[in-house]
Symmetry: C2
Subunit: 573 residues, 2 copies
């Protein structure tokens, strides 16, 4: 492709509304343009990358025995009423009405539609297992779309769904999909990690997320340095500290801690480690019907953070997790939030395993401006329950028993679930078994954020000059960059010949035939980030040479013009 016949649309300046580097570079490199909040047009070079990602995903899904279908974007509400999600799904679900005032929605995901299809088309155990997928436009009405296509409202997703007679069979397909996803991310040329994940609101029994590693990642993912263990931070279990809890050696003492509104301030004032203090958080409690009712106290070591997902799963805690308001705090503890402590509290108390391992610790006195020191469990607080409710931190022992935990940042680009019978039961999807009995199907689901991968790849592969595309998803494989072509006799001939030779060799090449200054052309090519660049200049031509530059390694070398095609082919293979 010649740049003069293309829509290049590079920008020199970084658009002010782009917060993350991938968004900035996708705008600057002319890959996308914003149409409205969370809605993007893919320009030619961006679309080429998107399609390359899409094709790799498709090929690996096909290889793994999944079959491609295509479901509508617009879905009727009645199926979502059957599954219960019409009510439960938040305002991210864009509910619409057609001209006859019938309710529909723009699909954020397709569990209902595929289950409707399968319950009609699959009637016998002989047709199972089956694994169907699609690559499709999805819509999620994000309250605050941001980061470009990373969190857009309209996006491209590969979503797959498998149906089985047994959990064992589901496990087999799940393992196959796990492997297919590894193959996908290997081929994409991205550094990634599959991690154990919480099954969350979609439900089900087992789940892995696939994260592209990048410092800018929104998610914390946790690894063991001594095993294969990996999980996202929501899921990673924090073990109780080893050994017995120390015995109490101090008596409880009430100390004045005026104007100390943080753990740090209290620690400094009393000259104790934050790890020797505890913090007490009041959140909405939950009655037997799942309604918010009263409050419950969550107790953590001063240096630890609450894990909301873990807390939310406790039967005593209202979901979604909601912190108590001022009135509730005053009623429960008769003080401000910063002075709450478990001693004498009459609401239920849930203590994190690490906090429960402390002896002679510091906590709020339930009286503004005062704390207690020398507090001990069982002696001073007798009615409490111990659970894992904190985020792990680096150095924690791995829950697998081997090694210590490390934490990295990741961008979630894939997610596989064992859904079980959540949808098939609600929607009555079953078959006749070999023995003639009706059996509800067991279901798995498998998502890849196709458009998100494009952004994640850039977050992981860039420098201050622009994008450094992995070979398999670069918009073009090679760039031919002639310097001052319009001022030279020889350069246009050499450049045109090289361009057509590369094309004839089946290589996808961008030929920058613009009449621009070399500096502008170099800057654009660094920005766009094609892996292999051939620079044609007068001086090298005298010796029959052109310059080669590898965008990823930065390596430069001169090569003979006659050997350029063979050289590029060897680089590509």
């Amino acid at each position: 492709m010649r740049t003069t016949q293309y829509l290049l649309s590079t920008l020199k300046e970084t658009p002010s509304d782009a917060e993350v580097i991938s968004h900035q570079l996708m705008l600057r490199a002319g890959m996308i343009r914003k149409l409205a909040s969370g809605l993007y047009t893919w320009l030619p070079s961006g679309l080429k990358v998107l399609r390359k990602v899409e094709n790799i995903v498709r090929e690996e899904m096909d290889k793994a025995g999944a079959i491609e279908v295509l479901m509508p974007v617009v879905q009727p509400a009645d199926l979502w009423e059957e599954s219960g999600r019409w009510e439960k799904f938040g305002p991210e679900l864009l509910r619409i009405k057609d001209r006859h005032e019938r309710p529909f929605l723009l699909g954020p995901t397709h569990e209902e539609v595929i289950t409707e299809l399968v319950r009609k088309e699959i009637n016998s155990y002989k047709q199972l297992p089956i694994n169907l997928y699609q690559v499709q436009t999805k819509f999620r009405d994000e309250v605050r779309p941001r980061f470009g296509v990373m969190r857009a409202r309209e996006f491209t997703m590969k979503d797959g769904y498998s149906f089985h007679l047994s959990d064992e069979c589901l496990q087999q397909t799940y393992d196959k999909m796990h492997q297919a996803y590894c193959n996908i991310f290997d081929r994409l040329g991205l550094e990634y990690r599959p991690v154990l994940a919480d099954t969350g609101s979609i439900g089900g029994s087992m789940s892995h997320e696939f994260h592209v590693l990048a410092e800018s990642g929104e998610d914390a993912i946790v690894f063991s340095d001594g095993s294969d263990y990996a999980a996202n931070i929501e899921k990673a279990e924090a073990l109780a500290p080893s050994g017995e809890r120390a015995n109490a050696t101090q008596n409880v003492e009430k100390v004045a801690t005026p104007d100390t509104h943080s753990i740090e301030a209290v620690s400094a004032l009393l000259n104790v480690e934050a790890a020797q203090t505890i913090k007490t958080l009041l959140v909405q409690a939950c009655d037997e019907d799942g309604e918010a009712n009263g409050v419950v106290a969550l107790v953590l070591r001063g240096d630890h953070e609450l894990n909301e997902v873990k807390a939310e799963k406790l039967s005593q805690v209202f979901a979604p997790l909601t912190f108590a308001n001022e009135t509730q705090i005053n009623a429960a503890a008769n003080c401000d939030a910063g002075s709450i402590g478990p001693v004498g509290l009459t609401v239920p108390v849930i203590v994190d395993k690490s906090a429960a391992h402390l002896a002679d610790f510091v906590c709020g006195a339930n009286e503004n401006g005062f704390h207690l020191t020398g507090v001990n469990w069982d002696r001073d607080i007798t009615d409490y329950q111990v659970n894992d409710i904190r985020n792990v931190v680096e150095g924690d022992p791995s829950p697998c028993g081997q090694g210590k935990l490390m934490i990295k940042r990741g961008i979630e680009v894939g997610h596989i679930f064992q859904l079980g019978t959540k949808y098939s039961e609600a929607m009555k999807a079953g078959v006749l078994t070999e023995s003639g009995k009706h059996q509800t199907l067991t279901m798995g689901c498998y998502g890849v954020g196709v458009s998100r991968i494009v952004a994640a790849a850039i977050e992981q592969n860039h420098d201050k000059f622009g994008i450094k595309w992995p070979a398999n998803i670069a918009p073009f494989q090679v760039c031919v960059l002639p310097m001052n072509m319009h001022k030279s006799h020889r350069i246009p001939d050499v450049a045109n010949k090289l361009y057509s030779d590369l094309q004839n060799a089946g290589i996808d090449v961008l030929f920058d035939d613009r009449k621009e200054r070399p500096g502008v052309m170099f800057a654009d090519m660094e920005l766009i980030g094609l892996p292999h660049v051939i620079v044609i200049g007068e001086r090298n031509l005298d010796e029959g040479l052109v310059e080669y530059k590898n965008r990823r390694t930065g390596e430069k070398q001169t090569i003979k013009i006659d050997e350029a095609i063979a050289f590029i082919q060897s680089q590509l293979s």
Copy 2:
């Protein structure tokens, strides 16, 4: 692909709600399933066809120098307010609101979005012309979706848009697109015709439709038997009959025509040809502001039909064309609709060219139960205007001056327009010219109904047993059909080997490895309609033979097993 590992989903019975053959066969062959009115899921074999069509379209667009982009399905209302279509577009435009109550729509077409893109990205004449296209999901909220994917609400379309400095440049790209469309339909293997079309509500100066010929087609398309002239019936000009009008020979006579409520009845009663009578239709008239105001009379020969598109274009006629109601008819003619005639009418009278060529004709007397005979223009009706307002009929002279017109049925699958400045003017899309002046862009647009082509191909290519796929868009190229495989020792070996040999030769093959009766398997394969079928049976195997059947020609022959691959390759090339 093995059928046992595929979602075959063929149906023996024709679903009762499928009116047209393509819809019936797409359901029966397991290509699509209805999710809701006008919303279809594409099952695996249907999707394969859709993708093959899509790829042929894409390849020809790329070859013609068009550049692919991808715009959002969901579009903000404000762009449509700029173009004026937010108000004008009917209820087919699905208007929606997001969670913040901001108005959006599901895109039925993308003129506004592309014009918004181009006015931002294209600033200089140097970047022109540019021709951008996408293949994308569109939505049109049809009041009565029907015929399966032929008139669905959600559908796949290729829409392209070009931008130019001059009409000459637009004409060049338009011609290129015309050729690209011919290439597309040639490669699809369909019998088609490009025809001159009316530019209708999209506006612009020149337009061609591409029709797949099929007896079931909704549209009438018109050809000359003596030239290349072709047009759709809305557009085809009806010439005035040749020669001078005959002189009046009769006097006006009022005759009783009780209980005659049709042209046929009047002709029979008075013993005159329908072609010697006229009919007078009253429609809403239009004032200078384009508002409906009063009525106007349209006069046609008794054997001719009104062309609503032609009538609507007349400045005196309100658009959309609306027939006068009973009150208006009584006020204008003092009789029922069946007895109106132009003699003595005080409303404006517009006479079709053929009707205006009659002498001594019969018309309504503006009195219930009476007609006039021996009526003559200029003598009996003096205030009238002559226009072409009828549909052409077979045998009419071609407007090109050569040959007579023939009429066939077609299914519109492509449409190209010269839009001119309709959108670029409203949305202020212009560039600086070489001389530094601001100039509004001239625009073309080019659509292909990708999913509709799948249905149209079937309407044109089927028999009573099922689909007869053209080679390039068949879901698979070849079918391997072993008879009673589970009862034989040899057949599975031969079939499996043939299947893998075909695959290794790069041939897309469907292997029917089900344990079904031969009759069921034959019926399914005829229904699915793959072009080449190899039947493996015990008897032929004794002689080292298999049977080949060509689904399109019906030709059968036995071939040596060892030569089967080479034979199929020769059939495919």
